[in-house]
């Protein structure tokens, strides 16, 4: 005898529940969590290093580096900048999820950290589907990637709280229609705050950092 059992449960609900636990743990330690997503080469680590440079030593920043291989290139750079970092090697998995982050948190001195930056795996598709429990999700899109990315990778633009446009120092040298790019972003996430920056020259980093400090202060 077959019977139908009503379920109606989000497929990734287990991840969402763990993300909530991560959030509670960060709150308990007074840590603001920031998830940074981007394509490979967009400048995630460079942005993190610029942010550390702008905020240290007043703000202690811990970094979780998501990598798909056992190379600690990014984590080493953060440690060289004087901040604690742990690497999550996803073993080829295309994104970080809440389980992976919950395993990394105990490896950081959370009581000494004000800001936790999670550098997600370089990917514009998968990280969008898995919440981590961070307080803000930020996407970095670089000028070098082209102006059509919001149209081609819409989902990741929908869930973000801020957008960084990196490598604006390249604008005079590449074909990139900033209005076309921004139109696509507007369609997906009306009114999302946008920060044009250059990690190479440092332009615009101060405005980004001011926004971040504001978010950290407003958090309750």
């Amino acid at each position: 005898m077959n019977t139908r059992v009503k379920v109606v449960e989000k497929i990734l609900s287990a991840n969402d529940r763990l993300a909530e636990q991560n959030r509670a743990r960060l709150d308990q330690h007074g840590v603001f969590g920031l998830n940074i997503m981007a394509a490979p080469g967009a400048g995630k680590t460079s942005t993190i290093l610029r942010t550390i440079e702008a905020l240290s030593p007043q703000i202690t920043i811990g970094v979780v580096e998501g990598d798909t291989a056992a190379v600690t290139i990014d984590a080493d750079k953060v440690i060289a900048a004087g901040m604690p970092a742990v690497q999550i090697n996803t073993g080829g998995e295309c994104h970080l999820d809440a389980v992976m982050l919950s395993g990394a948190l105990p490896q950081l001195p959370l009581d000494q950290i004000d800001l936790l930056i999670v550098e997600n795996v370089g990917n514009l598709i998968c990280p969008a589907a898995f919440s981590l429990g961070t307080h803000a999700n930020v996407l970095i899109s670089s000028v070098a990637e082209g102006d059509d990315k919001p149209y081609k990778y819409p989902n990741i633009y929908r869930g973000i709280d801020a957008l960084i446009i990196n490598k604006i120092d390249l604008l005079p040298y590449v074909e990139y229609d900033l209005d076309y790019f921004k139109r696509g972003v507007e369609l997906l996430n009306p009114g999302v705050v946008t920060f044009p920056i250059s990690c190479r020259t440092g332009e615009g980093v101060d405005v980004w950092v001011q926004w971040l400090l504001g978010k950290m202060g407003r958090r309750e």
């Binding site: 379920v7 109606v8 998995e93 989902n155 929908r158 369609l187």
Partner: protein, 118 residues
């Protein structure tokens, strides 16, 4: 994308609800997937056949119900369907639009055998 992780989640949810219902076997699993949620049905079915083999869900059939994406203009309230490429409001051409439906990604129901067939 990450179909294996997704399939594992589906299996965990189905097994939990089947156990709660005192089922001996799950015969089908009904999923609701919005047009904006990227998932490859064939890949999920492939992983499903592999990882469900030793469970109460072995040989259960997966059913994918696709929901179309609907958008609404925040300026003029016009509701319209997403047809291929993302476009602005067909009525007032505003880019300020929101997603009304199409992001569904859930397990709707399972069909189970409650007792061993005799």
């Amino acid at each position: 994308m990450h179909e294996l992780a997704v399939t594992e989640s589906i299996l965990n949810i189905a097994v939990r609800h089947a156990t709660q219902a005192n089922a001996v076997r799950v015969t089908s699993v009904h999923l609701v997937i919005g047009q904006l949620s990227s998932i490859v049905d064939d890949s999920v079915q492939f992983y499903w056949d592999m990882i469900s083999a030793e469970t109460i869900c072995a040989s259960a059939q997966l059913h994918f119900e696709r929901r179309p994406a609907t958008l609404q203009c925040l300026e003029c309230d016009r509701t319209y369907a997403l047809d291929g490429e993302l476009t602005d409001c067909p009525n007032c051409h505003s880019a300020r639009i929101k997603v009304v439906s199409g992001e569904e990604f859930y397990l709707e129901s399972i069909e189970v055998e409650a007792e061993n067939p005799t």
